[in-house]
Symmetry: D2
Subunit: 378 residues, 4 copies
C-alpha cells in the first residue's frame, strides 16, 4: 500500500516557506491523500540558510540556484515561496520544464506578469495553484457553501478590510529580511498586493467578479532607509488603500486595507449582506462565523456566533473534537491536501487563471488611485 510520491522542490525559506513546508508535512497525517508528499529539495541563494532550513524541516537536499532545482528530474512540483519579484520567472521556467506549480500570492506583481504566468501553465498543461489560503479556513469554506446554496438570497453589500499596524514606526527600513514587503521593486505594491489581494480573492470566490472600482491610496511615511543602499530612499509602496466598487451581481463593494491601524495585527474581516441573511468573519477569531438569518422567528432573531469546530463543519472531521481549535497554518494544510487530492481529477482552485482575475482588480485599484477616476476591473 505504498503511495506514489509527490516530490516537492521549494523555493524560499521565509515565513511562507515555513507555512508551506509545515502543510506538506501535516497534510498526510490528517488527510487520506492519493500521493505522499516528499520534501525533496529546498532552494535558497544562501547555502547555509538552505542547509539549516533543510535540516529543520527534513528536506533531503538543497539548491542555491532555482534553475538547477527546476532542472532536476526527481522533482514533481515547484512551490514558489520567494518574494514577489521572482514569481514570474520561476513559474514560467517551471511550467516549461513540465513541473506542477504552487505559487504564493499574489501571482505576479502586476496583471501583465500574471498573464504571462497563466499563459505558461496553460501551454504546459501543468497543475497549478496559488496559495490564497484563507479560502480554506473552515469558517470561510462554510460561508462559501452557504452562499452557493442561496442562504443569503440576493446580495446587496460586501465589505472587507485588512488592518495591521506594524509599519507605523519611521525607523523601520525598507528591504532586508522580512521587510521586502516595503520595497516596491520587490513587492510590486504595498497593502494592495499584500493584503487587499487576499480580500479580493475571497470576495470574488464568494460573491463573483468585480466590474469597476474607485480607489485612494496613501503613503504616510514618505522616505525610509533602504537596507540595500543604506540610504534614505523614497517609499514607493502604498501604506493604505481603500476602494469602492461594483460586483457583477449588482452588489456594492467597500474595501480597505492599511498597516497604520493601531491595535490591529491581522484584522482581516469580511461581511456580506443579502436579502435573507448576512455573514461576518474575522481572521483574529477564525473559528467563528457570525450569521444572521432573517427567516428565524422574529422575537429571537439575532446574530449567531457559530463556532466552526464540529465534525460536520468543513475539514473539521479531520482534526480534534468539537470546541477545539486549529491554527491559522492549517489553512495551508487544507490547501495542500485539496491540491494533492485534486491531482487525479482537476486541480483545486484558485488556479493561476483565477488569481489573475484578482490581479486585474488590484491593478485597477492602483490605477484609479492615480487617476481619481472609476476604472474597469476586468
Amino acid at each position: 500500500m505504498t503511495k506514489q510520491k509527490l516530490r516537492i522542490g521549494m523555493v524560499g525559506y521565509g515565513f511562507m516557506g515555513r507555512t508551506h513546508s509545515n502543510a506538506f508535512l501535516t497534510a498526510p497525517r490528517f488527510f487520506d491523500l492519493p500521493y505522499q508528499p516528499e520534501l525533496t529539495a529546498i532552494c535558497a541563494r544562501n547555502a547555509d540558510r538552505a542547509k539549516a532550513f533543510a535540516e529543520n524541516w527534513g528536506y533531503q537536499s538543497t539548491e542555491t540556484d532555482w534553475r538547477k532545482l527546476i532542472a532536476r528530474d526527481d522533482i514533481d512540483l515547484i512551490d514558489i515561496a520567494a518574494p514577489n519579484n521572482m514569481h514570474m520567472d520561476i513559474a514560467i521556467a517551471a511550467a516549461e520544464a513540465g513541473k506542477m506549480i504552487m505559487c504564493e500570492k499574489p501571482l505576479g506583481r502586476t496583471a501583465v506578469e500574471s498573464q504571462k504566468m497563466v499563459d505558461a501553465v496553460e501551454k504546459a498543461k501543468v497543475p497549478n495553484m496559488v496559495w490564497y489560503n484563507y479560502r480554506r479556513i473552515p469558517a470561510v469554506t462554510l460561508a462559501k457553501h452557504m452562499i452557493d446554496e442561496g442562504q443569503l438570497g440576493r446580495i446587496f453589500h460586501y465589505r472587507a478590510k485588512f488592518l495591521q499596524d506594524w509599519t507605523i514606526s519611521e525607523d523601520l527600513p525598507q528591504g532586508g529580511e522580512g521587510l521586502w514587503r516595503l520595497d516596491k521593486s520587490v513587492a510590486g505594491s504595498g497593502v494592495t498586493g499584500d493584503l487587499l489581494a487576499h480580500c479580493i480573492d475571497t470576495a470574488m470566490w464568494l460573491n463573483g467578479s468585480i466590474d469597476k472600482v474607485t480607489a485612494m491610496t496613501e503613503t504616510f511615511i514618505k522616505t525610509r532607509e533602504h537596507t540595500l543602499t543604506g540610504k534614505i530612499e523614497p517609499v514607493g509602496i502604498d501604506d493604505a488603500c481603500a476602494f469602492m466598487g461594483r460586483f457583477s451581481n449588482g452588489s456594492l463593494a467597500t474595501f480597505e486595507s492599511t498597516r497604520y491601524a493601531r491595535g490591529h495585527k491581522a484584522l482581516y474581516t469580511f461581511e456580506i449582506n443579502g436579502e435573507h441573511g448576512s455573514l461576518f468573519w474575522d481572521l483574529h477569531d477564525l473559528h467563528r462565523l457570525e450569521y444572521f438569518d432573517h427567516r428565524d422567528e422574529g422575537l429571537t432573531r439575532g446574530w449567531r456566533s457559530v463556532h466552526i469546530t464540529d465534525g460536520e463543519h468543513p475539514y473539521m472531521d479531520k482534526w480534534w473534537v468539537p470546541g477545539l481549535s486549529i491554527g491559522y497554518d492549517e489553512s495551508f494544510t487544507h490547501q495542500a491536501a485539496d491540491f494533492i487530492m485534486g491531482l487525479n481529477s482537476e486541480a483545486a482552485a484558485p488556479t493561476f487563471k483565477d488569481a489573475l482575475e484578482t490581479d486585474k482588480v488590484t491593478d485597477a485599484v492602483l490605477r484609479s488611485a492615480e487617476t481619481g477616476q472609476w476604472e474597469i476591473a476586468n
Copy 2:
C-alpha cells in the same frame, strides 16, 4: 377624560428614591395607565433634604415623620425607598392604614420580618409589590416568556452571579450616606440581601423554587470605621457569598456574589441550560439576550445575540425604534406601569408574598454559611 389620581407618598430620597420618582413621572408618558400617578409627598427625616428632593422631582409637599405621611388622607400609596431596617415598621403601619404599598427590595432584613409584612398586607388586603426591577428589563421578560413556553425543555442548570468591586478599599467606612449597605444592623446582610436577592428573585421567577442550599461567605476586610461612632468597628456583613443548591424541578443552582471582583461594576448575569436550548443575560449589556437553540440546523447553530429593541419585544413598542436602547431605570418605569395597570385586576408580581420566598432562601444561605451544612430553603 381626566383620569383618577394615584397619590403617592414616598419614604426615602436616596438612589432608590430617585429611581422610583423617575418611574412615576415617566410611566404615564409612555404607557396608557388607568390612573394618573401624582407625586403628593416625600418624607425624609431631614427637612431640608426633603424640600430639595421635592423641588427637584416635583413633589407637592414634604414630611419628616413617616407616621404622619401614612396618616394623611390624601395619600393612596406608600412607596418605601428607605434603608432596609425601616421596611418592616413602615410597611406594617401603611397596611394598617389601608394604603397600597410598594417596597424596595429586599422585603425585610430577615424572613421573620418579611413574614410579618406579608401577614400585614394580607390582613389589610392592600395591593403590594416589591421593587425587584430586573424582572422588567425587556430581555429578562422575554426570557421568562420563552421558558414558560417550553423553549428550553427540561432544565439542567441555572447559574447566576452578581459581581462588583466598589468596597475593596480599606478606607471605605461603614454607615453614612449610601454606605449603610456595609452596616449589618441597617442592611441585614451584605451581598446576600443586596445582590443575591436579585439573582434569587429572577431565578425563582424563571425556574421555580429552590429547595436547599449550601453556602460560603467571606468578609475580606474585617474592620472599618463606622461613621456614626467614629470608631473602627467589626464589619458584620458578608463581602462575598457563593452558594450551590437544588431547584424543585431537579436542576442545579450555582450562585455567587461579591463586591471584590475587580473590573466588574454591576455584572449581574444569569444562564439557564435546558434540553433544547440555553439563555444568557448580562446587566452590563442589558438589551442583549444570548440564546442558543439546539433545534437550529446543525451546521449553522450558534449562540444568537438577540438585540431586544424591536417593537415586538416586551415593553419596547412603547419606546423608540429598533436598535435604540432604553436605560436601566426604565425597568422601574415598567414596574410602576405594570403595578398601576394591575390595580383593577390583581397586583402585578412580585408581591410581598413572592418576595418572602426570596428571603427564605437568603436566610438559608446565611445559615448554611454558618453551619457548613446543606440547609432547607423553604
Copy 3:
C-alpha cells in the same frame, strides 16, 4: 428660588417630537439648569393629534399652524421636529420673530437651504442648535475629550458606518406616517441625509473638516407605492451610500451607510486610528468605548472595553451608580441641558453654522455619486 421659564413651542409630534419632549421634561430633574423648560405649545396640522400629543406630554396648548405658533408672545424657543422639507421655512420665520431655535437634523435638505437658515439666525442673533444628539452619548463625548487631549497622536484613519435593514421589503410604501424618509421631495435624500449626516457630524467634531470625497449610491428598489398618490412611483432616494475622502489633517475617511444590511437595526459605528492609539464605538452598545493604547506595556496591550458608566465619565455623575446604563434618549436630554446651560454664555454646539458644514459634505457626496469624480466638500 423660582427659575425663569424657557417656554417651548414644538413643531412635530413624531419620533423626534417625542425624544425632544422627553428631553425637556427629563433635563431639569437631573441637571441644575438656569432656566426651567416649559412645554408651552405643540403644533401639528392635525388638531386631534396635536391635542393627544399635548395631553400625553403635558403641553399647555396646541396650534395647527406653525406660523401662529411663531407669532405667539409666550414662546421663547421654537423646536423643529417636523419633516426635513419644513425645516427651512420654519427656521427662517422663527429667526425673524426673534425666537431661539433648536432644529432636528439635517439642517436643510441641501446646503443651499442650510445656508439660508444660517444667514437668518446670524442676522437675528438668536441662540440656535441642531439636534445631532450622538455627540452627547457619554462614550462619544469621552472620545472627543481624549482626541482633543492628543491621546491618539497623529490620526491616520477614520471610518464610520450606519447600517440598517428596515427598507428591504418591496411592500414598504414611500410617504405616510414615518415613511416620509423614503420620499425624496420631503427628505431631500435617503441614507445620506438621514444616517451619513450623523456620521459626518461626529467625524468632523472629532477629527476636523473633510476636504474632498468620492462616492457611490444605489437605489436597490427602484419603484414603490406612494401613499399620497396611491400609485407606483420611482424612488428618488439613495438606499445605500458609501464614500471615501480626505480630512484636512491628512487622514483617510471611509464611510458607508445603507438600509439593506440584514441584521443591523441602527448599527452606527466609528473607529479612529492614530499613532498612539485607536477608538471604536457602536451605537448598539452605546455605553462601551473600545480603546487601544499602544503605550501600554507590550505584553498586556489590548483593546480595552471601557464601560462608560462611572461618575467621572461625561454626564454620568448625574444619573445612577457605576455599571448601570442610560438610554439612547438621554443623549437628547444632555443636549437640551447643555443648550439651556449655555444660554447665558454662548450656545452649545452644533450650531446651524456647524451643521451647514455637514450639509456641504453630504451635498458633495451626492454630487460625486452623480459625476463619478472626486468633489470638493467645502
Copy 4:
C-alpha cells in the same frame, strides 16, 4: 550535529494518542530541542489498529501488549494515552523498567492509585510528566507569569467552569470507542476527573493549593446501554459537578462542570480577581487573555482583550507573525518541547507528584458530594 534520539513508545491510539503523536512530530520543527524525538513504537491491543496508526503517524513498529513495549531496550520513554483504568499498571511497570513516563491526565482514577504511581516514579527516579496541556496555551502561561509577578495583588476569587453538551441524548451508550468516559469502572469518575481535573490543575498552578471543598454532583440520565454487556446498566459517573472551596491563600473558589450545558462544546473558562486586577480566559477563544488593571487611569480603565499572538508572548516567537493563531493541539507541542528541553535539568511540570495533588482535590469533591459535608482536600 546529529542529536541523540528520544525513542518513544506510545500506548493508546485514540484522541490523545493522536495529539501526543502530533506533538512529538511538530515540536522539533519549531523548537530547538536537545534530543530528537522518534516515534519508535505504538502499542494497541488490536494489531490492525496499531498498524494503521503506525502507518499514519510514522511509528516504526507496533506492539499489542504494553508489557512487551516496556520490556524493549530501544524505548526511552513510555507515553500513556490509554484509558484511565490502565494508567496505574502501565506507569508502575514503566517506572520499574527505568523508562521516562508521560501520562495522560488524570493520573490515576483515584488519589490512591496516583499515590502508587508517584511512589513508583520517585523510587525509580525517572523523569515524569502528566499531560495537563492547558498550562501551555500561551495565554494561560502568560497569566501564570503575571500572577507570579504580583500583577493582581492579593487574590480574592478564583472561578472556573468547564461546560459541554455532548451527553444530553439518552441514546448515547456507555462504553465503546470514545465512550469509555461514561463508564465509571474505566474512567473513575465523570466530569470530575475528565474536566474539573483540568480546572483544578490550572487553578492550583496559578493560585496555590485548595484546602477544603463542598460539592454537589448529579447524574441526569440514570441508565444507559452498555456496549460491552449490550444491556441497560446504571450510569455510575457524575454528569455534572459543582464545588466551592477555599484556597490556602484565603481566596474563594467556585468551580462547575457539566456535559449538560446546551451550546457549549468545550467552554473551559477561568477568572481570577485580585486587589489590583483580574484575568479571564476561555478555551473557545484561546488566544485571548482578558485583563483588567485597576491601576490604569480611571477614565479609560476597561477589560483589555489581549490577543496573545505577538512574538514576545509565551511560545509565540516560535510560530508565525502577530495576529495569527495556533491550534489547541500546539499546547501539547509546547508540553512535549518543554519536557524534552527539561531532560538535562529537571523535568518540566506538572510531574506525577503535582498531579497527585489534583487527584486529592477531585477525591475530596466526590467525597463531599456523598457526605454533604465540607471535606479537607489535602
